[in-house]
Structures are given as C-alpha cells and as structure tokens.
Amino acid sequence: MNTKQKYKALTRDLMWEPKSVDMRRMFPLVAVEGIHLKDPSRWEDPFRMTFDQYVRIQSEKDHLHHAIRSAYEVNYGHARVVDGRWFEGVKAFAVAVQPAEYAAHRLMAYIGRNIPIEAIRFATFNQAVDELRHAQIEIKHYADMSKYYDGLHAYSKTNENLWFNTVPKSFFDDALTAGPFEALIAISFSFEYVFTNILFLPFSSSAAAVGDEHFAAMGKSVQSDESRHMALGMAALKMLLEEDDRNVPIVQKWIDKWYWRAYRIFSVISTLVDYYPRIRSISWKRAFEMYVEEQVMGGLFRDLKRYGIRPPRNFEDSVKEKEHYSHATMRILEHYKHANYFRGFTLQTDDYEWLGNEYPNTFKRYYEPFFRKMDDNVMAVAPPGLPAVCAVCQIPCEFPDPDHPERPWTQYAEYNDKTHMFCSPGCKQIFLDEPQKYQQWWWPAESYLNGEFGGSLEEMFKYFGFAPEEANEYYTSRDYHRWIRYREELGLDKRFDPKVVS
C-alpha cells in the first residue's frame, strides 16, 4: 500500500452505522442547518496526517521553538528590543489572541464530534490539539513577560471581564454557539484561510524587525500549523459546495457574515502592524492588499465563481477602509487607554513620518491632528465613561465612513423595542440576519452600571484584573522606566536612535 492508501486505511471506515440507536440521536446537529451531504467520503485532508506523523512533526517544531524561547528568556530578550513600547502591542495580542486560540481548541472538538464525516475528522481533531498548542506556547511568552512588566498577571480575568476583550471573545462565542457546519466555515475558512496569514506573518516580521526573536519564532511556528488548518478550511468549503447545490446559498450567507466578523476583530491587529512596532516590516494597507486582496480575492474567489460563490458582501467596504483602519482603531485605543491593560503611546517624530509616507491620502489629513492633540496632554480627549460599542463586533462605534471620513459610520436598527447601535453597515447586516442571537450579547457597561463590578473605581479595576497604573501612556509609564533600568543593568544603549538602527 502507498501513503495515500495507508492514510485512508488508518483514518476511514472507523465509525459505523449504529444498530441499537438512531443515527440521528448520535449526530443530532447534522441536519439542523439545512446542509445536504451525499457522499462526503470522497473528501480528505490534503496533508494526510496520521497520529505518528503528527507527534513527530510537532515535537520537532516544539523543540525548535522552545530552544529559541529559552535563549530569549536567559538572555533577557525583552530588554533588547529596539523600543519597549512593542510589548504594549504584544500585551494586546496576548490577551486578545491567546484566549481565542483556547476557544478554537474547544470549538474544533465540537465540530469534529458533530460532523459525521470521518474524512475530515482526524484533521479537525489535529486542529483541536494544535489550538491548545498555540494557546500554551503563546502563554509561555507572556508568562516570561509578566515577571518583568505590567498588565498580564491576571490575563484570564481581564479576558472574562474587560470591554476590550469582548471583541475577540464574542467572535469565538458566536462560532461556539453556532451549528457545526457554520462553525467550520467561520473558523477553518473565514478565520484561518482568509485572515490568519495577516495575523501571524506581518506581526512576526515586525517582531523580528524590533528584535523580539521569541515572538517572531512563535508567530511562524503557529502559522505553520495554520497551513494545515487552511487546507482543512478549503477542503471543507469545496466539499459543502460540491455535495449539493442547496448548500451554496447557505455557505454564501456564512461567508458574508464571517468575513466581516473576522475582518472586524483584526482591527486591533492593524494597529499592531502600523503603530506598536517602532520599526515596521510592512503596513496594514500593504499586508491587506497582499494577503486579502491578491491572495484571497484575486486567487480564491475567482476560483469559487464556478460554484456561484461571490466575494463576501462587505468586501468592498474593507478595501475602502484599508487606508483608515489602523488609524481609526488606534484613535479608539488612545481614547480608552486609561481603562485598558495595554497602553497607548505618544507618537514620535519618526512615527509621524512613517505613517505620513505610508498613508499619504489619509493620515496627515484626518488623523495626525488627533494624535498631536494627544501629545500635548495625554488625557486631553479621554472620555469620562466607558465606550458605546457595536452590538455585533463590540468595538466602540468610532469608525469613520470611508467615503466621507469626516462623518461617523455608525448605524442604527430597531429590534424588540430597542435601538441597537453598530460600527458599520457590515455589522448592522449581521445583526439583522440573526437579531435573536445578537440581542443576547454581554455588554460590560451594563454590568458596571448594575454594580456587578463593585461600587468603586478600585473595585472595578480589580474585576478587570489590573490596576490604573498599568494603563495609560507608555513613555510616561513605570514599564518604560523598568525597561530602561533593565537595559542599563545589561549595559545596553539607553536610547533608540532611528538612524543607527536603519
């Protein structure tokens, strides 16, 4: 037998048609979403991974990765980056992405259990195990950071309770509560195939550029697993489209929803590409063009036309927004940095220069004035309360309409005698398609007002999992002074000089 036959023999025909119970009781969710399957057994995981291969390849990856990590920790890699503000971005990534990996772990087990297709089940289970890997190797990085810096020491609590974390959390909660096929398209296709490249690769490049070797290694190591997940997403998508024509409109609806949903949680990633690294490898705009416009829309969606699948509903909106996205998001983060576990920062001369050059159409005109004002007084425009957020993506409703950047893009809809607010037409559409679901969202502000978080500001921060001193502006923070002290201790240069580095 060759590899292909062997792979089939090892992973197929292991489940059986039950005789003592009804098949539908065993797989109760298979029909609820209206998906039709004829002969899904002809599909398979293109990687053809077996248990033995999995543990061998993955232990090699882990050996490589942990060697880099240990060297980084022993040599105090954190003190050697070109500018410590980088770690504020890493913190954002830590508490937003790591819990998402963990949620994906539980989610893939759900999908694997409930979709009765052996052809992809071993791949979904490999992914369930991979996601646990990602959650845990990421934590190792943050565990080391937490011994030297603020903001991470109660990260799970922060993830459970903070307004910012409802953004990624609600995304995965949305998938976890959906049917198994929708969850598969949401995560394996929309999230993994369309967006994870942009999550790990540009950010890894920036990490390497600023000297965070550990983060760079982690990003690439995680992404190498994502290759398998992308392949699974593609196989699943094609399977659903080819099995039955009636699946096509259902899948299109999911692609529409999850494209925008995934795109919106990447708003913060755009700031991690454009703002937090002092040396950037690429801009959000360019990364979006390369990974989403060229690779996904230019390649994949052209190919999907033959099934009657068109690009996601709000794709054009995301293209229009690419010159605004990171700036508008950074403005939001700056607005609420006094109530967040990662800090904003005063832009430096070289930042203004880079942003102006990369975004000649938008930065100087629409965003620079705001950041200049922030420089004068860090609290100048901090709003007193908690943000009014979008009822779907839960990001504060402060995105500008890309066609008229001076106007807000905020949308409204009436449902159940209540006015609901959205950051964009994309989110509004998603709400209107499933209002029953989205009216259930947990809104932290309501909990604060209701007293769940205690009566005082102090108690509220305890609930958030960090103290007010761990928030706010970076270059005036205790973390910045710690970083300088660590560098002095190690005899490294005190100041960053852009001319020397470039």
């Binding site: 293109p46 690769l201 890894s204 290694a217 690439k220 190498s224 290759s227 690779q295 390649g299 052209r302």
Partner: protein, 93 residues
C-alpha cells in the same frame, strides 16, 4: 491580476529553504521568490509543484516531505496533492 499560488517559507530553516526554492525554480522558471524579512514568499502563476527528489538533489542529503511542514509557514492555492514524493498547489482543482 494573475492567479498566483505559492508558499511562505520560514527563513529559520536555512539551507532547506534555498534548496526548496532552487528545486521549484529549476522545474518552473516562472517561480518568483521575494524576501519578506523573516520569511520568503515563493509564487508562480496557476500551479506549483515541489518534488522531493529535486530538493534532495539540491541539499545533497535525504529529505522528507514532512520537513516541508516544519518550514512552510503558509501557502495559497489549493493543495491538490501531497504525498511522500511531491506536493502540488494549484487553482481550479
């Protein structure tokens, strides 16, 4: 805009990466490699095939397709076939 397929290869993998790129370019001169810092993006219009033997030839030692999983940080296109001898990435499969 052409429909490219390709891979993002992790530069940490050293000589393996240059061997893979050489092997790809030898069988198809349209294969382009761009250095993007921590990884190299290789792409070709429509279709790309990597053969184990070609990589072994360049490396001068035994090499397994499983090793590609360790250094391929990402890819784009459909994986049309993947076995111990070759990998084909293409559109329109």
């Amino acid at each position: 805009m052409e429909e490219y397929v390709g891979m993002d290869l992790d530069k940490n993998a050293g000589d393996m990466i240059s061997a893979i790129i050489e092997a790809l370019q030898e069988s198809d001169e349209r294969v382009v490699a761009d250095d993007l810092g921590v990884f190299i993006k290789v792409r070709a219009p429509g279709r790309m095939e990597l053969r184990r033997e070609a990589v072994e030839d360049k490396l001068g030692r035994v090499w397994s397709m499983d090793d590609l999983q360790v250094c391929m940080a990402s890819y784009f296109g459909y994986i049309q076939d993947w076995d111990e001898d070759h990998v084909i990435i293409a559109w329109g499969a």
